[in-house]
């Protein structure tokens, strides 16, 4: 550690990038305390008006929508992702394993636009689901998925699933199989082995996957924008609307800032809860 021949050279580019990140964060904080001057991109003087504006119902509704979307998406993604990750890790045949791996991970490398557009074709009023159900005579009028929370949640679950599967599969693959074998040899049935060995040991993975699912859903923009169509406003769609419809950068900045503080608070509470849970698990 005494010789440091490359310290300065190697950290220089990343220090510059860190400055850019810090500067843009400071710009957001600064703009959120400045007045909006209609028709100008330059902000006015110091004000707290942006934050009092956020108490209006539109913004409260957007916060509520975002939280609900995060919650429902996390629940359904975990319920669907866990069996998928389990099957991927425990599949006996190499071919089946590769197939599950490729099918569930390919969407991770397709952008939000392709995936959201595909869901519009599936869920639209003349889309695949409604056309099929109507031809089979199950329904007379199309079910509204577009512009509803249900539609946005379906697409968001599909959007979040691959990353959750990756994290759950990583956790499941690091569980010592000998523990399960020992339980089986002592006469435990498969359900009992899963409930008392596999599931508890994968809790750290579930926790990590849940917080990632939350961050992804919170950050999602194209899905609520295109499927919500302005009827399901979230923080991200509102920031874009405020920023680009009226070029009210100060209000967009304060909305982003509050959203960011909210994310950090949720993740911090979540992590503390998990650490408590782990400590509790370690003691018992």
């Amino acid at each position: 550690m005494s010789k440091r021949p490359f310290l300065g050279w190697f950290s220089l580019p990343s220090v510059l990038i860190a400055f850019a990140i810090a500067a843009s964060f400071i710009a957001i904080v600064q703009y959120s305390f400045r007045a909006y001057v209609p028709g100008s991109l330059d902000p006015g003087g110091f004000t707290l008006d942006n934050f009092t504006t956020l108490w209006k119902t539109v913004y409260g509704q957007a916060f509520l929508n975002t939280v609900l979307l995060c919650l429902w998406t996390a629940i359904f993604t975990l319920l669907i992702g866990y069996p998928l990750a389990y099957a991927m890790v425990r599949a006996q045949s190499v071919k089946l394993r590769s197939a599950i791996l490729l099918i569930s991970l390919t969407p991770l490398f397709l952008g939000e636009i392709v995936r959201t557009y595909s869901w519009i074709i599936v869920l639209g009023n003349r889309g695949f689901v409604n056309a099929t159900l109507m031809q089979m005579g199950f329904i007379d009028a199309p079910i509204n998925f577009m512009f509803t929370m249900t539609g946005v949640v379906i697409a968001l679950v599909h959007f979040t699933l691959p990353i959750v599967v990756v994290m759950l599969a990583a956790a499941l693959s690091h569980i010592d199989m000998n523990l399960e074998r020992a339980a089986t040899s002592l006469g435990a049935g498969r359900v009992r082995v899963f409930a008392s060995i596999t599931l508890p040991l994968s809790i750290p993975g579930i926790a990590a996957a849940t917080s990632t699912a939350f961050a992804w859903t919170f950050s999602a923009f194209a899905t609520p924008q295109m499927i919500g169509g302005g009827k399901v406003q979230t923080i991200s769609t509102l920031v874009y609307q405020v920023g680009f419809a009226s070029f009210n950068f100060p209000l967009a900045a304060s909305l982003s800032l509050v959203g960011l503080l909210f994310t950090i608070a949720v993740l911090a509470i979540f992590n503390t809860g998990i650490r408590r849970l782990e400590k509790f698990g370690a003691h018992s």
Partner: protein
Amino acid sequence: MKKSLFDHLLDWSGRVLLTMILGFVLLPFLVVFIASFNDSAILSFPPKNWSLRWYSNAIEYRDFGKGLINSLKVSAIAATFAMIAGSGFAYVLNRYDFSLKSLLNSILMSPLIIPNFTIGLGLLILSTAASLPRTIWLVVAVHVIIVLPFVIRSVYVSLQNFERRYEQAAESLGAAPLRVLLTITLPLLVPGLISGALFAAILSFNEFTASLFVVNQGTQTFPVAMYNYVREYADPTLAAVSVIYVIAVAALLLVVHKFFRLEKVLNVE
């Protein structure tokens, strides 16, 4: 071991569940595949007439071509920058202790938590306040910030699994630090660097939200061009684009899987 009736039931319900979940993952891609060959501009299932006109429309639409070139440029430059900055920082993080190290680390890692729309808005405000023109370099800067944490992580993991004895052997034989770095450390890190840069390039190519805030008509990336198309036209041209996109990505992943095995790359073995 003889399986009981209950075990068989469990096996079968597991298979049914797995098929349903895989069906849910594949459904939108199958549907978009069918829709892309629909002759009519209005969606209908099943399509009454088939045609390839949306494919030729997609290839001829000029914004897609320009967007594709912009995206290839941006992702290549951003991945290169991120690899240089990220591997340098990962090395420093792994080998040295210095003041402000943890602060620097948390700033560089913060884009994992900060939503992309906030990063885009921040850079937009910053460039407006500094009256910088909205060139392609602004898009590159946003992408470098977003993909950098992934590169740092991937190189840092390779450095942690690194066999230090090779370096020590070279040092004890009298090699200067620069020579050790260039002839021992760097060559051994190449696989980690390549997979990190590849991952960064794919992430950058797909990035949409933050880009939307900082692009203009001339610098719009491929995902932004696709988004703008959906807002203006209702025809299935984008279905054709999506099919090409999905096939290209799946083919790329198959190749990666053949050579590297995805289980290993994603650490799910």
